[in-house]
Amino acid sequence: MKASQSISKPAAITTPNDTEIRIERTFDAPRDLVFRAYTDAKLLPQWMGPRKYKMKIEQMDIRPGGRWRFLHIDTDGTEYGFHGEFREIVRPERIVQTWNFEGMPGESIQTALFQENHGRTTVTSIVKFERKEHRDGMLASGMESGLNEGYDRLDELLRTMH
């Protein structure tokens, strides 16, 4: 019951079919608040992405047809851009939006569903890619544990190239 008892658990990441990734995680907070954390341009940069990247929202027009764009900025100043369009906004239940990782092929469509149960909220995100290769490209960044070591090596390698 106490916050001190909550142990962060990993997100359940699964592949229900060839082109989708499903991410599920439960938060100890009511749905209105979780939904706000996903849609408020002041709150989103406070949690989205690894701590080492600064997140900067360039555009966030939350309505069907509205555009969004944000940057992850690495410690060395490298910027990674993401953008897309909101397709559906149903407060506080559902967000459907397109996703593009700038410079990478393949747009995906992400559907985030917010369900509340006894004051806790489960967020289920389904990320659908156009092609299996794009989905696998995203997952190749570590879903298979065997690759993790390799990516540590790649990190080291990248450090030597600065």
């Binding site: 916050a3 909550s6 962060s8 990993p10 997100a11 990441i13 990734i21 991410i23 995680r25 938060f27 100890d28 907070a29 608040l33 979780v34 706000r36 954390a37 709150l43 406070q46 949690w47 989205m48 992405g49 690894p50 701590r51 992850h72 690495d74 490298t78 990674y80 990782f101 410079g103 990478m104 092929p105 393949g106 092609r131 290769e133 794009h134 696998d136 490209g137 995203m138 997952l139 190749a140 960044s141 570590g142 879903m143 690759l147 993790n148 390799g150 990516y151 090596r153 790649l154 990190d155 080291e156 390698l157 990248l158 030597t160 190239m161």
Partner: protein
């Protein structure tokens, strides 16, 4: 990067021998022979790996004085750097931060109601 190129880049760095080769080339240009020497595989096998790396745009090859040289092309690697943070790590770290933010926001909502 086009689609094939991206797939090729991921495929290229997924293999330990090829990462080994890339790590060596990060130290500087090397001949095919120099790359093959420390590896427990034949030179034709090394050449095959080099072909994969070249196709992915990760290395550049040139011939000079009958020796074949390889050099690292860092750019595609830089482009996959963000992806090197694993998908699971990306979301787990994000969600941990969200847990903390939600606790703060809950506490704030509580305070707002206090006199």
């Amino acid at each position: 990067m086009n689609d094939d190129r991206l797939s090729a880049t991921f495929q290229a760095v997924a293999d330990p021998t090829r990462r080994n080769i890339l790590a060596r080339l990060a130290q500087g240009e090397a001949t095919v022979q120099e790359l093959a020497d420390p590896l427990p595989i034949s030179q034709p096998a090394v050449s095959k790996h080099l072909k994969v790396l070249e196709k992915a745009g990760l290395i550049e090859r040139r011939s000079e004085a009958q020796r074949r040289w390889c050099r690292l092309q860092a750019r595609p690697l830089r482009e996959v750097a963000l992806w090197a943070t694993t998908f699971q790590q990306y979301w787990d770290e994000s969600f941990e931060r969200l847990d903390a933010l939600l606790e703060e926001e809950k506490a704030r909502g509580h305070d707002d109601k206090a006199p």
